[in-house]
């Protein structure tokens, strides 16, 4: 007899809390805001050393990959905890792209050798689909001509550090293409910590892995559901920092955080973060059990983006002048939150998906 749980497990296990503590320790040591800000304007916006520490040192690149392929055989629940911490620190590492999006696409295709490479952290993968694409939405393909790939793909997150690109082609296949066979041109992105690039293929050789449509759909669904945890991390991080600052900042001979007009705004934000935590946990749990996952992901994404953006915008306003400076890290969170509100489908796109899923049809 199979027993189906009627309610998702919305808590964090002891192991998940231990994982969180380990990731947070590493980020506290290796990912301070000043360093991230300085890096955004350097030639190497990605922190590859930090990525190695997370991916290889801690083995987190392979959480979703079975142990037999060198992964950890963990679930989306653990990945969600890692993403909460990466969101909180606005860490410039290709975790969502390589360990979630590319990994899920390879899992769909059953490409064991490449999964093993990504899981070990030896290679960074990127799904060559525009970051704005919602699960189930149409995506751009390249042309397959005489056995090689031709075309241009824009808005590809973290392509600049990818070793391996997973490229959908017009024959319906998903192709593995090595980065050295394509031209990657950085775009100027709103979110400086998740750089975007144009990928140009001019007769690039590729290895056909399987059908693109189901692989891309699976990858984008998992990515969207887990992005809610990154958004939770952003929102909780800026709320915590703003509360701390407003207890310390004094005007009119009082801590600014004692004024009721501001306290109410912070309390409202706290409520939104509490709600987002439940929605993000539900999505991560649903992805790990594949029970009701489409619905849980759509609910989490329809809720998460407005909360993360609201939290970052309020944080800036409540920090006031200092929050408007390049030096203060609030803008990193704001830019990430705003970019995340478009990434993997807007809240509106996910509400439209929900209308179908729960039969609340448009007029």
């Amino acid at each position: 007899m199979t027993t189906q749980r009627t309610q998702p497990d919305l808590l964090y296990s002891e192991e998940e809390e231990a994982l969180r503590a380990a990731v947070r320790d590493l980020l506290t040591d290796r990912c301070d805001a000043a360093g991230v800000i300085a890096r955004t304007e350097s030639d190497a916006p990605h922190d590859v050393a930090l990525w190695k520490a997370l991916a290889t040192g801690m083995g987190l690149a392979g959480l979703l990959v079975p142990e037999a392929l060198g992964g950890q055989g963990a679930t989306h629940r653990e990945v969600a905890v890692v993403l909460e911490e990466l969101g909180r620190a606005v860490a410039p590492v290709p975790y969502l792209t390589s360990a979630v999006l590319a990994t899920e696409a390879l899992l769909a295709c059953g490409t064991d050798d490449l999964l093993a490479e990504l899981a070990s952290g030896a290679s960074i993968g990127a799904l060559a689909v525009g970051l704005h694409t919602a699960p189930g939405a149409a995506f751009t393909t390249v042309r397959l001509e005489n056995g090689t790939l031709h075309g241009e793909l824009t808005g590809i997150a973290d392509a600049a550090v990818a070793d391996l690109l997973l490229v959908p082609a017009d024959d319906g296949g998903l192709y593995a293409v090595t980065a050295s066979a394509v031209t990657v041109t950085p775009q100027v992105a709103l979110d400086l910590t998740r750089p975007l690039a144009t990928v140009t293929l001019d007769g690039a050789p590729g290895r056909r892995l399987g059908a693109a449509e189901p692989a891309v759909r699976r990858a984008l669904r998992a990515g969207a559901g887990l992005l809610a945890s990154e958004q939770l991390g952003i929102a909780e991080g800026v709320l915590t920092e703003t509360v701390r600052y407003l207890k310390e900042r004094k005007q009119f001979n009082r801590p600014v955080g004692g004024f009721q007009a501001l306290k109410h705004r912070l309390a409202q934000l706290w409520l939104e973060v509490v709600n987002l935590r439940a929605a993000a946990r539900a999505a991560a749990d649903a992805l790990s059990t594949t029970q009701d996952a489409d619905l849980a992901v759509a609910v989490a994404q329809a809720y998460a983006a407005p909360v993360a953006v609201h939290a970052a915008e309020e944080a800036l306003q409540l920090h006031a002048g200092i929050g408007m400076t390049w030096e203060h890290p609030i803008h990193l969170s704001l830019k990430r939150a705003k970019a995340d509100s478009i990434a993997l489908g807007t809240a509106g796109a996910h509400r439209a998906a929900l209308a179908e899923l729960v039969d609340l049809q448009a007029p």
Partner: protein, 393 residues
């Protein structure tokens, strides 16, 4: 140790000795109380066994399975949710033995005499006076927003016993006999047309000192137990998906495509998502309680629930269009139960307005979240060191 097996054994014993099919309802409930199966986390002899609260579900499930009668908790919510925990914590042994059993079985209904016309959010400013005369206290004043007062046998009451000290220090907590000739209950009609609540006028009501709960002047602290339990009760109901106010709106949307507009569709989907997320938050809170890690999340449940109910019921009235112009019936009624759902969308819309007022206004709850959860400083106070009699009014 009281574990699941032990509770199942005791429940089976109760059912064998008092078969529900052949036992009078009240006799069964009394026997259940005496067997310690009423609320298993209460002490032995007071309806419980000192067991973990989470094990109550074992007893409830076993009794429900055989169709045993329950104590109709909706009818006696104030007694179960507010009076009982306060009596348990602050009552004398004699008070606990006298009051808890008929409270739990529902033989005696309880109401709450806290709010006054001049003391709402600032409840500690209340002016109902209790003056000591020999072994009695003589109480005079007016209370308001009292649900169940017209059916209640007893009330939990807070009154001012010392006007010469700051407001929080001069309050004492009593158990008031609602059959005392000085107690007059008048229905208070509300915007729905009904009178769910009452005004209660207290004129020379005599309360023996033996019905004081806690120390003289300690009533504010005692009342915190009552109020904290009230908020848990208001925000903590378990619901299935679409189980709350969103249910009737979604049903109307599905059944009546002619009412749909694009603008309403966007608002409906947004509120549907928020209702589902609020449901998940409630579920997460329950899971935290089950594993014995209550989080501060409970403080926010009522806030979210109030706003959602108001927005959803407002949308429902608009969705109905021409029908939204109508209201089923304004006849003054005096229902025994609080009812948020009622008969039609208009009722739901109007009743939901109370959700952000009753049990602590949303503004006060936001202060509580800001100060107790986020640790933000309190506003400067001008009332803390002033005698109650000298406060502005």
């Amino acid at each position: 140790m009281t574990d699941t097996a032990e509770l199942q054994r005791r429940t089976a014993e109760l059912l064998a000795a008092h078969p529900p099919t052949t036992t009078d309802r009240l006799d069964f409930l009394r026997a259940r109380f005496d067997a310690g199966l009423a609320w298993v986390h209460y002490p032995e002899g007071l309806g419980g066994l000192g067991a973990p609260r989470s094990l109550q579900a074992v007893v409830d499930a076993a009794l429900e399975a055989v169709g045993a009668p329950d104590n109709d908790p909706r009818r006696i919510g104030i007694g179960l949710g507010m009076a009982a925990p306060t009596i348990l914590r602050y009552g004398t042994e004699e008070q606990k033995r006298r009051f808890l059993r008929p409270l739990w079985t529902g033989e005696e209904v309880w109401c709450q005499l806290f709010s006054e016309p001049g003391a709402g959010s600032d409840l500690a400013a209340l002016g109902t006076r209790a003056v000591r005369e020999g072994e009695d206290w003589v109480v005079n004043g007016q209370k308001v927003w009292t649900s169940s007062a017209h059916v209640a046998r007893w009330a939990i009451l807070i009154a001012r016993t010392d006007p010469d000290v700051p407001k929080h220090a001069g309050i004492t907590y009593f158990i008031c006999d609602m059959t005392d000739p000085g107690v007059e209950v008048r229905p208070l009609r509300q915007i729905t047309g009904e009178a769910e609540f009452n005004e209660v006028f207290l004129t020379d009501v005599r309360i023996p000192d033996a019905r004081r709960l806690g120390e003289i002047g300690d009533g504010w602290r005692v009342a915190q137990t009552t109020l904290n339990n009230e908020r848990v009760a208001i925000g903590g109901m378990r619901l299935p998906r679409e189980g709350g106010m969103i249910g009737p709106v979604a049903k109307t949307w599905r059944e009546r495509p002619e009412l749909r507009t694009h603008e309403l569709h966007q608002r409906l989907l947004k509120l549907w998502v928020e209702a589902e997320v609020a449901r998940l938050t409630g579920e997460r809170l329950r899971q935290q309680l089950t594993v014995g890690q209550p989080g501060p999340e409970g403080a926010g449940m009522k806030l979210g629930f109030a706003r959602l109910n108001q927005e959803i019921s407002g949308l429902e009235v608009e969705l109905l269009g021409e029908e939204g112009l109508l209201y089923e019936d304004w006849t003054m009624r005096r229902p025994e139960l609080v009812d948020f759902v009622g008969r039609d969308a208009g009722y739901r819309y109007l009743r939901a307005k109370g959700n952000s007022i009753e049990g602590g206004t949303s503004e006060i709850l936001l202060n509580i979240v800001a100060e107790r959860v986020l640790g933000l400083p309190a506003e400067p106070r001008t009332d803390k060191d002033v005698a109650w009699k000298d406060l502005a009014r």
